[in-house]
């Protein structure tokens, strides 16, 4: 059996498989299915300064080989998360988790980061910069390099833990975004978030999702995610956690070959609650079959071509 152990800033992973933010709640819904300690780590549901109900229903639509969601960062607010959800999660998962967080202003991010990074079992923050910047007219933090750099810098200044910045794929130049946040002090990058998409009810003509647009993810986005991880992992010196469409051990290995040092698995958890442990088993089998002793051998294997 190959060595799957990976060490990243703030995270000591027994294997590189991490359920992605927003598809695993705070872990409780999965504990009936399997022992969460099988996982490398867990990225918690995106947390914000204040409690948020999120968007009206419907929040979910479907696309070919994927789903569209517009949850709108529903969460109980960072203070509640630190006081309740994280301690509850600590009871069922021994390792450190990724503290995924969002915000709609610089202050939001900074205050949330200061509080969330204090939590005992948060190993690192994961800054979701795909939220619209309400104050500056709804433009996303995640689409302008300077804005992304500023939020990274301000969060780094208050965070007691390493910071991963989670990039949005809805940009012309993903490498520019990555370099901007690296420059601003990010300890790692996680990518990709969802692609903006829509579906319509053909009878009424109405967008299916109440919020009109939604984030598209699942197998359909894998080739886009692989391309972006390939480009970014070669352009920066900090580790990349890769995600987008991973639903098998084979997909996870392909993502690491593209350049990811670990992977997150999103939608797949929703379709099959056992997705993550299955992916870990499949990775083990496939690496054996490929004659690989240590997972590090495949990270960025494609870069030599």
């Amino acid at each position: 059996m190959a060595n799957l152990h990976i060490t990243l800033p703030g995270l000591d992973l027994k294997n590189p498989v991490i359920p992605a933010s927003g598809t695993f709640g705070y872990g409780q819904e999965f504990k009936d299915f399997y022992d969460l300690n099988k996982l490398g780590s867990i990225s918690i549901k995106g947390t914000t300064r204040e409690k948020r109900y999120g968007n009206p229903l419907p929040r979910i639509a479907e696309g070919p080989a994927g789903l569209l969601n517009a949850i709108g960062l529903q969460n109980p607010g960072v203070e509640h998360v630190v006081a309740h959800e994280l301690p509850e999660l600590a009871k069922i998962f021994d390792g450190k988790v990724l503290g995924n967080m969002g915000g709609h202003s610089f202050e939001d991010y900074v205050e949330t980061a200061a509080i969330l990074s204090q939590a005992e079992n948060v190993g690192a923050l994961e800054l979701n910069i795909s939220c619209p910047n309400v104050k500056e007219g709804g433009m996303q933090f995640g689409t302008d390099p300077a804005t992304a750099a500023r939020v990274t810098r301000e969060v780094k200044a208050v965070s007691s833990k390493p910071v991963y910045v989670k990039l949005s794929p809805n940009v012309t130049d993903i490498v520019a975004m990555a370099k901007a946040v690296e420059e601003a002090g990010a300890d790692g990058i996680s990518m990709i978030n969802t692609l903006v998409g829509m579906r319509f009810d053909i009878r009424s003509g109405r967008p299916i999702i109440a919020n009109k647009t939604g984030g598209y993810s699942g197998p359909a986005i894998l080739p886009v995610a692989l391309r972006m991880v390939y480009q970014v992992s070669q352009a920066v010196d900090i580790p990349v956690i890769g995600m987008g469409g991973i639903s098998s051990g084979r997909d996870a290995i392909e993502m690491m070959i593209a350049g990811a040092s670990a992977v997150e698995v999103g939608c797949a958890n929703l379709i099959d609650p056992y997705a993550c442990p299955k992916i870990i088993d499949e990775m083990n089998d496939l690496l054996d079959d490929m004659g690989i002793d240590d997972i590090h051998e495949i990270i960025g294997l494609s870069h030599k071509y």
């Binding site: 009206p56 479907e62 099959d272």
Partner: protein
């Protein structure tokens, strides 16, 4: 407690045009109350990608019955499944109808909301409750399962076009027949549930639907905002909510 299991199809028969009854066999131990649902992965391919939620119409210790209408890709596929085939399902999902110690209960179904009331009727009758059913359909040709219910309890029908029973909604039928109850249990389309919550917000249990990402509480795809500002997941805290806790408007 949610659990994943594979169940073998025993029968899949068309009751009326496009409405099917499917009986499957397997481990039903995760199901605890009427009104819970299952979530079906219809094939090993990614089409459709999401699971499809279906109410449990009836169950015993080794079988489970669903009634569904063909409305799109997923239900079309479901209708084509032959006996012997095994279906990947998550079962025991959500919190169903909870007996409120009432002596008389009115079950209110709207269209494809009728199925989960079947097992509920059986359970309430076992407890000695006086049970009546009101059910609304668009038209006489959309009616199904009436004989099955008539074997259990009195049945009152409403149709929008008046081709069967009261012309109008279930509320019209309740009024026309002067139906009284200590508690009512309802499942049906959103407008019906809203009308009922307005009609009587104190004594009802309402079963909701929502487009679902997971069906077991993980994605927040189905969270409804409640009257008190809290939010509850249709798939987890629901699908059944008290008529007193739901928002009537919006």
């Amino acid at each position: 407690m949610a659990s994943q299991t594979f169940m073998k199809v025993l029968s899949n028969k068309e009751l009326i045009k496009d409405v099917f009854e499917m009986v499957v066999e397997g481990d039903t131990s995760a199901i605890t109350t009427p009104g819970q649902f299952v979530n079906l992965k219809l094939n090993k391919y990614q089409e459709p990608y999401l699971r499809r939620p279906m109410s449990i119409c009836d169950y015993d210790d080794h079988t489970l019955t669903m009634i569904y209408k063909v409305v799109g890709t997923g239900t079309k596929l479901l209708s084509e499944i032959r006996p012997g085939h095994k279906i990947d399902m998550l079962t025991g999902l959500g919190h169903g109808f909870v007996y409120q110690n009432e002596k008389s209960a009115l079950l209110i179904g709207g269209g494809l909301g009728l199925p989960p009331l079947y097992k509920l009727a059986k359970e309430l009758l076992k407890k000695g409750v006086d049970v009546k059913l009101v059910v609304g359909f668009a038209s006489k040709k959309d009616a199904f399962y009436l004989d099955e219910f008539k074997d259990l309890c009195p049945v009152f029908v409403a149709t929008m076009d008046g081709t069967l029973g009261t012309k109008g909604t279930v509320i019209d039928a309740i009024k026309e027949n002067n139906l009284s109850y200590e508690h009512y249990y309802a499942c049906g389309p959103l407008p019906m549930l809203k009308a009922l919550a307005k009609f009587d917000d104190q004594h009802g249990s309402l079963s909701y639907e929502a487009r679902m990402g997971c069906g077991f509480g993980a994605c927040m795809g189905c969270s409804m905002e409640m009257k008190d500002g809290s939010s509850k997941r249709v798939c987890y805290e629901g699908p059944v909510f008290a008529s007193s806790e739901v928002k009537i408007d919006g």
